[in-house]
Symmetry: C2
Subunit: 201 residues, 2 copies
Protein backbone atom coordinates (compact mmCIF):
# COMPACT_ATOMS: atom_id res chain seq x y z
CA UNK A 1 0.00 0.00 0.00
CA UNK A 2 2.73 2.49 0.99
CA UNK A 3 4.63 1.47 -2.11
CA UNK A 4 1.61 1.80 -4.41
CA UNK A 5 0.79 5.19 -2.94
CA UNK A 6 4.34 6.40 -3.46
CA UNK A 7 4.23 5.22 -7.06
CA UNK A 8 0.74 6.29 -7.96
CA UNK A 9 -0.26 9.39 -6.04
CA UNK A 10 0.71 11.81 -8.80
CA UNK A 11 -0.87 12.61 -12.12
CA UNK A 12 0.55 9.44 -13.71
CA UNK A 13 -1.27 7.33 -11.15
CA UNK A 14 -4.59 8.90 -12.11
CA UNK A 15 -3.84 8.48 -15.81
CA UNK A 16 -2.92 4.82 -15.29
CA UNK A 17 -6.20 4.21 -13.48
CA UNK A 18 -8.19 6.00 -16.19
CA UNK A 19 -6.55 3.92 -18.94
CA UNK A 20 -7.27 0.70 -17.11
CA UNK A 21 -10.85 1.72 -16.37
CA UNK A 22 -11.40 2.61 -20.02
CA UNK A 23 -10.29 -0.85 -21.10
CA UNK A 24 -12.55 -2.58 -18.59
CA UNK A 25 -15.57 -0.34 -19.31
CA UNK A 26 -15.27 -1.16 -23.03
CA UNK A 27 -15.05 -4.88 -22.31
CA UNK A 28 -17.60 -5.32 -19.49
CA UNK A 29 -19.64 -2.11 -19.41
CA UNK A 30 -19.76 0.32 -16.49
CA UNK A 31 -22.35 -1.69 -14.55
CA UNK A 32 -20.39 -4.91 -15.10
CA UNK A 33 -17.16 -3.38 -13.73
CA UNK A 34 -16.04 -3.25 -10.10
CA UNK A 35 -13.38 -1.01 -8.56
CA UNK A 36 -11.57 -4.27 -7.77
CA UNK A 37 -11.42 -5.16 -11.49
CA UNK A 38 -10.09 -1.71 -12.36
CA UNK A 39 -7.43 -2.03 -9.65
CA UNK A 40 -6.39 -5.45 -10.97
CA UNK A 41 -6.24 -4.20 -14.57
CA UNK A 42 -4.19 -1.14 -13.54
CA UNK A 43 -1.94 -3.16 -11.23
CA UNK A 44 -2.63 -0.83 -8.29
CA UNK A 45 -4.35 -1.14 -4.93
CA UNK A 46 -8.02 -0.37 -4.42
CA UNK A 47 -6.92 2.24 -1.87
CA UNK A 48 -4.94 4.08 -4.55
CA UNK A 49 -8.01 4.25 -6.76
CA UNK A 50 -10.00 5.82 -3.92
CA UNK A 51 -7.10 8.22 -3.32
CA UNK A 52 -7.67 9.61 -6.83
CA UNK A 53 -11.39 9.04 -7.38
CA UNK A 54 -14.15 9.02 -4.75
CA UNK A 55 -16.26 6.57 -6.80
CA UNK A 56 -16.48 4.47 -9.96
CA UNK A 57 -18.86 7.07 -11.36
CA UNK A 58 -16.23 9.76 -10.87
CA UNK A 59 -13.82 7.72 -13.02
CA UNK A 60 -16.45 7.48 -15.75
CA UNK A 61 -17.27 11.19 -15.48
CA UNK A 62 -13.58 12.10 -15.78
CA UNK A 63 -13.11 9.89 -18.85
CA UNK A 64 -16.21 11.17 -20.61
CA UNK A 65 -15.62 14.86 -19.98
CA UNK A 66 -11.97 14.60 -20.96
CA UNK A 67 -12.60 13.21 -24.43
CA UNK A 68 -15.44 15.64 -25.19
CA UNK A 69 -13.51 18.65 -23.87
CA UNK A 70 -10.42 17.57 -25.83
CA UNK A 71 -12.59 17.30 -28.94
CA UNK A 72 -13.95 20.80 -28.33
CA UNK A 73 -10.44 22.21 -27.83
CA UNK A 74 -9.16 20.56 -31.02
CA UNK A 75 -12.16 21.83 -33.00
CA UNK A 76 -11.72 25.36 -31.66
CA UNK A 77 -8.02 25.32 -32.60
CA UNK A 78 -8.71 23.85 -36.04
CA UNK A 79 -11.35 26.45 -36.81
CA UNK A 80 -9.13 29.28 -35.62
CA UNK A 81 -6.34 28.09 -37.90
CA UNK A 82 -8.65 27.84 -40.91
CA UNK A 83 -9.21 31.55 -41.48
CA UNK A 84 -12.54 33.35 -41.96
CA UNK A 85 -14.12 31.31 -44.81
CA UNK A 86 -17.00 29.07 -43.58
CA UNK A 87 -16.14 26.32 -46.11
CA UNK A 88 -12.55 26.20 -44.84
CA UNK A 89 -13.78 26.30 -41.24
CA UNK A 90 -16.22 23.41 -41.80
CA UNK A 91 -13.47 21.40 -43.52
CA UNK A 92 -11.20 22.04 -40.52
CA UNK A 93 -13.88 20.96 -38.02
CA UNK A 94 -14.66 17.73 -39.87
CA UNK A 95 -11.00 16.92 -40.38
CA UNK A 96 -10.21 17.35 -36.67
CA UNK A 97 -13.38 15.47 -35.64
CA UNK A 98 -12.64 12.44 -37.81
CA UNK A 99 -8.98 12.37 -36.79
CA UNK A 100 -9.83 12.34 -33.07
CA UNK A 101 -12.35 9.55 -33.61
CA UNK A 102 -9.90 7.33 -35.47
CA UNK A 103 -7.42 7.80 -32.59
CA UNK A 104 -9.63 7.55 -29.50
CA UNK A 105 -12.10 4.84 -30.38
CA UNK A 106 -12.47 3.32 -26.92
CA UNK A 107 -13.21 6.68 -25.27
CA UNK A 108 -15.76 7.47 -27.95
CA UNK A 109 -17.47 4.11 -27.44
CA UNK A 110 -17.72 4.62 -23.68
CA UNK A 111 -18.89 8.20 -24.22
CA UNK A 112 -21.72 7.02 -26.45
CA UNK A 113 -22.80 3.99 -24.43
CA UNK A 114 -22.49 5.04 -20.79
CA UNK A 115 -24.30 8.37 -20.59
CA UNK A 116 -27.01 6.34 -18.80
CA UNK A 117 -24.53 5.47 -16.06
CA UNK A 118 -23.82 9.07 -15.02
CA UNK A 119 -25.71 10.70 -12.16
CA UNK A 120 -27.83 13.77 -12.97
CA UNK A 121 -25.09 16.38 -12.33
CA UNK A 122 -22.43 14.55 -14.33
CA UNK A 123 -24.95 13.88 -17.10
CA UNK A 124 -25.76 17.59 -17.28
CA UNK A 125 -22.02 18.36 -17.51
CA UNK A 126 -21.52 15.78 -20.27
CA UNK A 127 -24.48 17.12 -22.25
CA UNK A 128 -23.19 20.69 -21.87
CA UNK A 129 -19.79 19.59 -23.21
CA UNK A 130 -21.52 17.98 -26.21
CA UNK A 131 -23.61 21.08 -26.77
CA UNK A 132 -20.40 23.12 -26.90
CA UNK A 133 -19.14 20.86 -29.71
CA UNK A 134 -22.43 21.11 -31.58
CA UNK A 135 -22.46 24.90 -31.15
CA UNK A 136 -19.18 25.19 -33.07
CA UNK A 137 -20.74 23.45 -36.06
CA UNK A 138 -23.87 25.54 -35.69
CA UNK A 139 -21.91 28.80 -35.86
CA UNK A 140 -20.00 27.74 -38.95
CA UNK A 141 -23.16 26.48 -40.67
CA UNK A 142 -24.95 29.76 -39.88
CA UNK A 143 -22.03 31.79 -41.26
CA UNK A 144 -21.96 29.70 -44.44
CA UNK A 145 -25.70 30.06 -44.96
CA UNK A 146 -25.45 33.81 -44.36
CA UNK A 147 -22.68 34.39 -46.92
CA UNK A 148 -24.11 31.93 -49.48
CA UNK A 149 -21.34 29.33 -49.11
CA UNK A 150 -23.91 26.71 -48.04
CA UNK A 151 -27.38 25.94 -49.36
CA UNK A 152 -29.27 23.72 -46.98
CA UNK A 153 -32.92 23.77 -45.99
CA UNK A 154 -32.47 21.73 -42.81
CA UNK A 155 -29.36 23.13 -41.10
CA UNK A 156 -30.13 21.70 -37.64
CA UNK A 157 -30.50 18.20 -39.11
CA UNK A 158 -27.37 18.70 -41.24
CA UNK A 159 -25.48 19.62 -38.07
CA UNK A 160 -26.60 16.38 -36.35
CA UNK A 161 -26.01 14.26 -39.45
CA UNK A 162 -22.44 15.55 -39.81
CA UNK A 163 -21.69 15.22 -36.09
CA UNK A 164 -23.00 11.64 -35.83
CA UNK A 165 -21.44 10.55 -39.13
CA UNK A 166 -18.01 11.81 -38.03
CA UNK A 167 -18.37 10.39 -34.51
CA UNK A 168 -19.45 6.98 -35.87
CA UNK A 169 -16.04 6.60 -37.50
CA UNK A 170 -14.83 5.51 -34.05
CA UNK A 171 -17.14 2.50 -34.27
CA UNK A 172 -15.81 0.99 -37.47
CA UNK A 173 -12.40 2.47 -38.28
CA UNK A 174 -9.58 -0.06 -38.20
CA UNK A 175 -5.90 0.85 -38.03
CA UNK A 176 -4.09 -0.66 -40.98
CA UNK A 177 -7.19 -0.64 -43.19
CA UNK A 178 -7.28 0.79 -46.72
CA UNK A 179 -7.50 4.47 -45.61
CA UNK A 180 -5.20 6.46 -43.35
CA UNK A 181 -6.90 8.73 -40.81
CA UNK A 182 -5.97 11.73 -42.98
CA UNK A 183 -7.38 10.19 -46.15
CA UNK A 184 -10.59 9.33 -44.35
CA UNK A 185 -10.80 12.83 -42.88
CA UNK A 186 -10.49 14.30 -46.39
CA UNK A 187 -13.26 12.05 -47.70
CA UNK A 188 -15.55 13.09 -44.83
CA UNK A 189 -14.89 16.76 -45.54
CA UNK A 190 -16.32 16.11 -49.00
CA UNK A 191 -19.38 14.38 -47.53
CA UNK A 192 -20.05 17.17 -45.03
CA UNK A 193 -19.73 19.91 -47.64
CA UNK A 194 -22.07 17.94 -49.93
CA UNK A 195 -24.67 17.69 -47.14
CA UNK A 196 -24.41 21.46 -46.69
CA UNK A 197 -24.78 22.11 -50.42
CA UNK A 198 -21.39 23.87 -50.64
CA UNK A 199 -20.23 24.68 -54.13
CA UNK A 200 -23.58 24.09 -55.82
CA UNK A 201 -24.28 27.72 -56.53
Amino acid sequence: MARAAAEGEGRDGAAMILNAALEVFVRDGFHGTSIRTIAKEAGVSIALIYYHFPSKEEILRTLMLKVTNDLRDELVAARAAAGPNPVDQMAALVRAHVRLHTARQAESFVGNTELRSLGPDALAEAMAARDAVSALYKEVIAAGLADGSFRCEAPAEANLAILTMCTSVAGWYRQGGPRSPDDLAGIYVGFALAILGAGEG
Copy 2:
Protein backbone atom coordinates in the same frame (compact mmCIF):
# COMPACT_ATOMS: atom_id res chain seq x y z
CA MET B 1 -45.27 -21.46 -11.53
CA ALA B 2 -47.95 -23.61 -13.16
CA ARG B 3 -50.00 -20.47 -13.65
CA ALA B 4 -47.14 -18.48 -15.12
CA ALA B 5 -46.28 -21.32 -17.48
CA ALA B 6 -49.88 -21.58 -18.65
CA GLU B 7 -49.95 -17.83 -19.28
CA GLY B 8 -46.54 -17.41 -20.80
CA GLU B 9 -45.50 -20.51 -22.68
CA GLY B 10 -46.63 -19.25 -26.09
CA ARG B 11 -45.22 -16.64 -28.41
CA ASP B 12 -46.65 -13.80 -26.31
CA GLY B 13 -44.66 -14.99 -23.32
CA ALA B 14 -41.42 -14.80 -25.29
CA ALA B 15 -42.33 -11.34 -26.64
CA MET B 16 -43.15 -10.10 -23.15
CA ILE B 17 -39.79 -11.32 -21.87
CA LEU B 18 -37.95 -9.72 -24.81
CA ASN B 19 -39.66 -6.37 -24.22
CA ALA B 20 -38.80 -6.43 -20.54
CA ALA B 21 -35.20 -7.46 -21.24
CA LEU B 22 -34.83 -4.65 -23.77
CA GLU B 23 -35.91 -2.11 -21.19
CA VAL B 24 -33.50 -3.45 -18.56
CA PHE B 25 -30.56 -3.78 -20.99
CA VAL B 26 -31.01 -0.13 -22.02
CA ARG B 27 -31.10 0.98 -18.39
CA ASP B 28 -28.44 -1.23 -16.77
CA GLY B 29 -26.46 -2.76 -19.65
CA PHE B 30 -26.26 -6.49 -20.40
CA HIS B 31 -23.57 -7.19 -17.81
CA GLY B 32 -25.46 -5.22 -15.17
CA THR B 33 -28.67 -7.22 -15.73
CA SER B 34 -29.66 -10.50 -14.09
CA ILE B 35 -32.31 -13.00 -15.23
CA ARG B 36 -34.01 -12.18 -11.93
CA THR B 37 -34.30 -8.49 -12.88
CA ILE B 38 -35.74 -9.38 -16.28
CA ALA B 39 -38.28 -11.69 -14.63
CA LYS B 40 -39.29 -8.95 -12.21
CA GLU B 41 -39.61 -6.37 -15.00
CA ALA B 42 -41.69 -8.79 -17.12
CA GLY B 43 -43.79 -9.91 -14.16
CA VAL B 44 -43.03 -13.58 -14.85
CA SER B 45 -41.15 -16.36 -13.05
CA ILE B 46 -37.48 -17.07 -13.62
CA ALA B 47 -38.53 -20.58 -14.69
CA LEU B 48 -40.67 -19.16 -17.49
CA ILE B 49 -37.70 -17.20 -18.81
CA TYR B 50 -35.61 -20.39 -18.92
CA TYR B 51 -38.54 -22.14 -20.64
CA HIS B 52 -38.15 -19.68 -23.56
CA PHE B 53 -34.45 -18.84 -23.44
CA PRO B 54 -31.58 -21.06 -22.28
CA SER B 55 -29.51 -18.05 -21.18
CA LYS B 56 -29.38 -14.29 -20.84
CA GLU B 57 -27.13 -14.22 -23.90
CA GLU B 58 -29.80 -15.99 -25.93
CA ILE B 59 -32.24 -13.19 -25.04
CA LEU B 60 -29.72 -10.61 -26.24
CA ARG B 61 -28.99 -12.59 -29.41
CA THR B 62 -32.71 -12.84 -30.21
CA LEU B 63 -33.25 -9.10 -29.68
CA MET B 64 -30.25 -8.09 -31.77
CA LEU B 65 -30.90 -10.40 -34.69
CA LYS B 66 -34.58 -9.50 -34.78
CA VAL B 67 -34.05 -5.77 -35.24
CA THR B 68 -31.32 -6.20 -37.85
CA ASN B 69 -33.27 -8.82 -39.79
CA ASP B 70 -36.40 -6.67 -39.66
CA LEU B 71 -34.35 -3.75 -40.98
CA ARG B 72 -33.05 -5.90 -43.83
CA ASP B 73 -36.59 -7.09 -44.69
CA GLU B 74 -37.93 -3.53 -44.70
CA LEU B 75 -35.05 -2.31 -46.86
CA VAL B 76 -35.53 -5.19 -49.34
CA ALA B 77 -39.25 -4.44 -49.60
CA ALA B 78 -38.66 -0.68 -49.94
CA ARG B 79 -36.13 -1.17 -52.71
CA ALA B 80 -38.36 -3.62 -54.57
CA ALA B 81 -41.20 -1.11 -54.48
CA ALA B 82 -38.99 1.71 -55.78
CA GLY B 83 -38.56 0.47 -59.33
CA PRO B 84 -35.29 0.13 -61.27
CA ASN B 85 -33.76 3.64 -60.86
CA PRO B 86 -30.78 3.68 -58.42
CA VAL B 87 -31.67 7.18 -57.17
CA ASP B 88 -35.20 6.03 -56.33
CA GLN B 89 -33.84 2.85 -54.76
CA MET B 90 -31.38 4.77 -52.58
CA ALA B 91 -34.13 7.15 -51.52
CA ALA B 92 -36.29 4.17 -50.57
CA LEU B 93 -33.49 2.54 -48.55
CA VAL B 94 -32.70 5.72 -46.60
CA ARG B 95 -36.37 6.48 -45.98
CA ALA B 96 -37.02 2.97 -44.58
CA HIS B 97 -33.77 3.03 -42.56
CA VAL B 98 -34.53 6.36 -40.89
CA ARG B 99 -38.14 5.42 -40.19
CA LEU B 100 -37.16 2.18 -38.46
CA HIS B 101 -34.58 4.02 -36.35
CA THR B 102 -37.07 6.65 -35.18
CA ALA B 103 -39.43 3.85 -34.14
CA ARG B 104 -37.11 1.30 -32.54
CA GLN B 105 -34.59 3.41 -30.67
CA ALA B 106 -34.07 1.09 -27.71
CA GLU B 107 -33.33 -1.94 -29.90
CA SER B 108 -30.92 0.10 -31.96
CA PHE B 109 -29.10 1.30 -28.82
CA VAL B 110 -28.71 -2.25 -27.50
CA GLY B 111 -27.66 -3.45 -30.97
CA ASN B 112 -24.90 -0.84 -31.08
CA THR B 113 -23.66 -1.16 -27.52
CA GLU B 114 -23.84 -4.86 -26.69
CA LEU B 115 -22.11 -6.58 -29.60
CA ARG B 116 -19.27 -7.13 -27.08
CA SER B 117 -21.62 -9.20 -24.93
CA LEU B 118 -22.37 -11.83 -27.58
CA GLY B 119 -20.43 -15.08 -27.76
CA PRO B 120 -18.41 -15.78 -30.92
CA ASP B 121 -21.20 -17.63 -32.81
CA ALA B 122 -23.87 -15.07 -32.02
CA LEU B 123 -21.45 -12.26 -32.86
CA ALA B 124 -20.75 -13.84 -36.24
CA GLU B 125 -24.50 -14.09 -36.87
CA ALA B 126 -25.05 -10.45 -35.88
CA MET B 127 -22.21 -9.29 -38.11
CA ALA B 128 -23.56 -11.33 -41.03
CA ALA B 129 -26.98 -9.70 -40.56
CA ARG B 130 -25.33 -6.26 -40.62
CA ASP B 131 -23.34 -7.20 -43.70
CA ALA B 132 -26.61 -8.12 -45.44
CA VAL B 133 -27.92 -4.61 -44.73
CA SER B 134 -24.71 -3.01 -45.95
CA ALA B 135 -24.76 -5.19 -49.09
CA LEU B 136 -28.12 -3.71 -50.12
CA TYR B 137 -26.63 -0.22 -50.06
CA LYS B 138 -23.53 -1.46 -51.86
CA GLU B 139 -25.57 -2.90 -54.73
CA VAL B 140 -27.57 0.29 -55.20
CA ILE B 141 -24.45 2.46 -55.02
CA ALA B 142 -22.72 0.27 -57.60
CA ALA B 143 -25.73 0.45 -59.91
CA GLY B 144 -25.87 4.24 -59.57
CA LEU B 145 -22.16 4.62 -60.29
CA ALA B 146 -22.47 2.30 -63.31
CA ASP B 147 -25.33 4.24 -64.91
CA GLY B 148 -23.97 7.67 -64.02
CA SER B 149 -26.66 8.52 -61.44
CA PHE B 150 -23.99 8.88 -58.72
CA ARG B 151 -20.55 10.47 -58.80
CA CYS B 152 -18.52 9.48 -55.78
CA GLU B 153 -14.83 8.67 -55.49
CA ALA B 154 -15.12 6.83 -52.16
CA PRO B 155 -18.18 4.58 -52.49
CA ALA B 156 -17.26 2.22 -49.62
CA GLU B 157 -16.87 5.18 -47.26
CA ALA B 158 -20.07 6.75 -48.58
CA ASN B 159 -21.87 3.48 -47.82
CA LEU B 160 -20.61 3.52 -44.22
CA ALA B 161 -21.28 7.24 -43.78
CA ILE B 162 -24.89 6.87 -44.95
CA LEU B 163 -25.48 3.73 -42.86
CA THR B 164 -24.09 5.22 -39.65
CA MET B 165 -25.75 8.61 -40.18
CA CYS B 166 -29.17 6.97 -40.65
CA THR B 167 -28.64 4.55 -37.74
CA SER B 168 -27.53 7.38 -35.42
CA VAL B 169 -30.99 8.92 -35.72
CA ALA B 170 -32.03 6.38 -33.09
CA GLY B 171 -29.66 8.04 -30.63
CA TRP B 172 -31.10 11.55 -30.76
CA TYR B 173 -34.56 11.48 -32.33
CA ARG B 174 -37.32 12.56 -29.94
CA GLN B 175 -41.01 11.88 -30.54
CA GLY B 176 -42.92 15.16 -30.55
CA GLY B 177 -39.90 17.17 -31.70
CA PRO B 178 -39.98 19.59 -34.64
CA ARG B 179 -39.79 16.90 -37.36
CA SER B 180 -42.04 13.90 -37.96
CA PRO B 181 -40.28 10.63 -38.83
CA ASP B 182 -41.37 11.09 -42.46
CA ASP B 183 -40.04 14.66 -42.66
CA LEU B 184 -36.76 13.56 -41.17
CA ALA B 185 -36.57 10.60 -43.58
CA GLY B 186 -37.05 13.00 -46.50
CA ILE B 187 -34.27 15.27 -45.24
CA TYR B 188 -31.91 12.31 -44.89
CA VAL B 189 -32.69 11.17 -48.44
CA GLY B 190 -31.37 14.57 -49.56
CA PHE B 191 -28.21 14.16 -47.45
CA ALA B 192 -27.52 10.64 -48.75
CA LEU B 193 -27.99 11.64 -52.39
CA ALA B 194 -25.70 14.64 -51.81
CA ILE B 195 -22.98 12.36 -50.38
CA LEU B 196 -23.31 10.17 -53.47
CA GLY B 197 -23.10 13.16 -55.82
CA ALA B 198 -26.52 12.44 -57.34
CA GLY B 199 -27.84 15.10 -59.67
CA GLU B 200 -24.53 16.92 -60.08
CA GLY B 201 -24.02 15.84 -63.66
